[in-house]
């Protein structure tokens, strides 16, 4: 990575390897979620029998709260990034830990939601809606979980003092991933819970 400052030609994107790599990875994530969400749209559109009303099956208020939680975690993440941009090591650590904690709470609420639903007899095997609901939100939850682990890893490195005002790509790219996962949730929440 030291080398790239002096490369003169490849100016196409003007971003470093890691950040470019993350954006490219996110492009593939878009296609992955398109596969899942697209399948949901297609199945629902083509369904012969009436589709269950989400509000009657799912607990929308709790999830709306959970959506709010995830948005909060995006803010704390971006705050962490803003902190290290100003060289503020202390706030970097605080905001990172806050993000990991809030992210973990999101997963916690989701687990609670799942247990409740399963308790009420709504399962992955409960027809197309159950299939799609658990697959989509489950894989989103998996992404959040991985994100939390990565943020903890970044936080650990922050405690070791690995980041500085000049060099904090690690914070930036985990942030990109985290916001992307948030973004997917925004779409999922609308499509799965509200429409």
């Amino acid at each position: 990575m030291e080398a790239e400052a002096s490369r003169f030609e490849p100016a196409t994107f003007q971003v470093n390897d890691k950040k470019l790599g993350m954006w490219i990875f996110l492009a593939s994530e878009v296609m992955f979620f398109t596969g899942l969400i697209g399948a949901y749209i297609i199945l629902r559109w083509g369904a012969a029998s009436p589709w269950p009303v989400p509000g009657e099956v799912l607990n929308v208020p709790i999830t709306a709260g959970n959506t709010f939680i995830l948005i909060c975690s995006s803010v704390t993440m971006v705050k962490a990034f803003a902190a290290i941009e100003e060289g503020n090591q202390k706030m970097l650590k605080v905001w990172l830990l806050a993000t990991a904690f809030i992210g973990a709470s999101f997963v916690g609420v989701q687990v609670y939601e799942y247990t409740e639903l399963i308790h009420h007899g709504f399962l992955p095997s409960s027809g197309l809606y159950g299939s799609a609901f658990f697959t989509m939100t489950g894989f989103h939850g998996l992404h959040v979980t991985i994100g939390v682990l990565c943020i903890l890893w970044v936080a650990m490195k922050a405690f070791r003092g690995s980041y500085s005002q000049a060099d904090h790509q690690g914070v930036e790219i985990i942030g990109l991933y985290w916001h992307f996962v948030d973004l997917v949730w925004i779409i999922l929440f609308t499509i799965v819970y509200l429409i």
């Binding site: 790239e4 490369r7 030609e9 490219i24 399948a39 199945l43 992955p124 697959t135």
Partner: protein, 584 residues
């Protein structure tokens, strides 16, 4: 000669000089060249497996119900007394397609050559993410071994075709395979992740790590094809992953995405699969086209004809590749109106393909052709890929496809494009870059024998399949002769099978030649083919880190027979005025 050109570029050297342990150097290596070589050996092993499966299924087709020599070594559940069972035949077809597509040809093109060639052709020290690269290899190996192991689980390996059409693939009751089916899905999901890591790496590296002066329109065509291929993989493969997850859940936890009883749509699987599948077949041909462009320019001693239109054609093929997937579904019950649009887009793909074929011919025109082994394979590619492309036109016309869909006409097409195309390109690439990779030459005469054997036997195996398809012989049929309309084809099938055994034997001959050359071949010079791209400025094999000082690039990739020069090739980091200023 490279030193003549050296200009201070101010790039810090990243070459690691300190000695590494054997394990770090050859097993858990992060050096792109070692990883490429690891891929090469693994893929050739899987190619051998795929070939072995083909030979077994050809045995059944050539000699239905006969005892297969050595077949008694197989377990009762596959071939009691050496006689292949119908359920085992289905597994053979499925796993043959799977191994060839996912574990032999695709990683041979991308895993081996993207890894090996990208850094040395664009002029950098290594991949952007060497550790991800290593992970990509190990995940690939694991996925391949999982796939292989599925032969030995209860119920045997997956038997629903490499296309895994649901609901057959989603319900163990229907296919009789459960564990093997799950292993298939898991294995391909891991494979998909491995190739995702690869794609991210290749794209980033090509965008960000090009040597000074290596502008987009100076990139060797191999790099262009690998770049576009990586993009195709990046966008197409995740859709397969998503579909695989749904299929896995249908199998295991009771979801019903593809099961019609509760409203699931079997055709949804086909749409998702082919949305991936058609870009996938272009993943399987584009890098081959890159190798061929490279080798044909080299053999003809001419700049590639129409470099820019070659680049546009690559991009056009890839772009169109995303909107033609429905041509696999003309007879699937898909809305006929969609069939119409898919037919038009499919036919249009012939246009950029035509550009490529005719530009290769244009490159040979007026050349001064040297018939080295890689060049022979490249010419073989052009001749055979064209035939495969032509049969594609028949199938693209949806009314004609009504009859030939799911017949051996398709099987002929598959093999003309994938073997006559991709695999010939791969053989060409192996011969061409072997000296660079291993520092030894492959004997030219021995290589040419391999070429002629393969070329002749290939056509004997696969050309008659067009005829079998026209006669109406269906794919994936264990015992065709029981149909009235197929009563007359056994002779052809037997002949094809003999030729297929010969083709496999020519593969074994290549294997011997390969290993013999690895240890006993003549030592290779730096630039044995007198080629022009950057890797030929490096020693054979190149050292760890490739360059002490990065090269500077002055012009396009194929400056052969420059009129101002005595020698007929000009490396990308040479300037004609510096090399031979006083020629006039």
């Amino acid at each position: 000669m490279a030193t003549m050109m050296a200009e201070p570029t101010g790039v810090p050297v990243r070459v690691e000089e300190h000695p590494q342990s054997f394990i770090r150097k050859y097993i858990f290596s992060t050096d792109h060249k070692i990883i490429g070589i690891q891929f090469l050996f693994t893929c050739l092993f899987f190619l051998l497996i795929g070939g072995l499966l083909a030979v077994m299924l050809r045995f059944q087709l050539g000699f239905p119900g006969a005892t297969m020599p050595g077949g008694s070594l197989l377990p009762e559940t596959m071939a009691p007394d050496g006689i292949i069972l119908p359920e085992f035949y289905n597994s053979l077809v499925t796993m043959h397609g799977t191994f060839m597509v996912f574990f032999a040809v695709m990683p041979l093109l991308v895993g081996v050559y993207a890894n090996y060639l990208i850094p040395v052709q664009i002029g950098t020290h290594d991949m952007a993410f060497p550790r991800l690269n290593m992970m990509s290899y190990w995940m690939f190996l694991v996925s391949g071994l999982i796939m292989l192991s599925s032969f030995w689980v209860i119920g045997g390996a997956s038997a629903s075709g490499w296309t895994q059409y649901a609901p057959l693939s989603a319900s163990p009751e229907a296919s009789g395979v459960s564990t093997g089916q799950i292993l298939w899905i898991v294995s391909i999901a891991i494979f998909a992740f491995s190739s995702l890591l690869g794609s991210v790496n290749y794209i980033t590296t090509i965008i960000n790590q090009r040597a000074p002066g290596m502008t987009w329109l100076r990139l060797p065509l191999v790099i262009w094809t690998l770049f576009i291929t990586a993009i195709l993989g990046l966008l197409a493969i995740p859709v397969l992953t998503a579909a695989l997850i749904m299929l896995l859940f249908d199998q295991t936890i009771g979801t019903t995405f593809f099961l019609p009883d509760t409203g699931g749509q079997p055709l949804l699987w086909q749409h998702l699969f082919w949305f991936f599948g058609h870009p996938e077949v272009y993943i399987l041909i584009l890098p081959g086209m890159g190798f061929v462009s490279e080798i044909i320019a080299n053999g003809s001693r001419k700049p590639i004809f129409g470099y820019k239109s070659m680049v546009y054609a690559i991009i056009a093929i890839a772009g169109l590749g995303f909107i033609v997937w429905g041509h696999h579904m003309f007879q699937s019950g898909m809305n006929p109106a969609l069939g119409m649009s898919f037919m038009i887009t499919t036919l249009i793909i012939a246009v950029p393909s035509a550009i490529k074929v005719f530009n290769w011919m244009g490159t040979m025109w007026g050349g001064s052709i040297r018939f080295h082994t890689p060049f022979l394979f490249a010419v073989g590619f052009v001749m055979l890929f064209a035939i495969g492309g032509f049969s594609g036109i028949f199938m693209a016309s949806s009314p004609v496809d009504i009859f030939i869909h799911d017949t051996y006409f398709i099987v002929a097409h598959i093999h003309y494009v994938l073997f006559g195309g991709s695999l010939f390109a791969i053989f060409g690439a192996i011969y061409y870059w072997f000296p660079k990779m291993f520092g030894r030459m492959i004997n030219e005469t021995a290589g040419k024998i391999h070429f002629f054997l393969t070329f002749v036997l290939f056509n004997l195996v696969f050309f008659p399949m067009h005829g079998l398809g026209m006669a109406g012989m269906m794919r994936r049929i264990y015992e065709p002769a029981q149909y009235e309309h197929l009563s007359g084809i056994q002779d052809t099938n037997t002949m094809v099978s003999w030729a297929a055994f010969g083709l496999f034997a020519s593969g074994l001959y290549f294997m011997v030649l390969f290993f013999w050359s690895l240890f006993k071949g003549k030592p290779a010079p730096e630039n044995p083919w007198e080629a022009t791209t950057l890797e030929w400025t490096l020693p054979s094999p190149p050292m760890h880190g490739n360059w002490k000082e990065l090269p500077t690039v002055y012009h396009g990739p194929y400056e052969y027979s420059h009129p101002d020069m005595e020698k007929d090739w000009l490396l990308q980091n040479e300037r004609p005025d510096v090399v031979s200023p006083a020629h006039h």
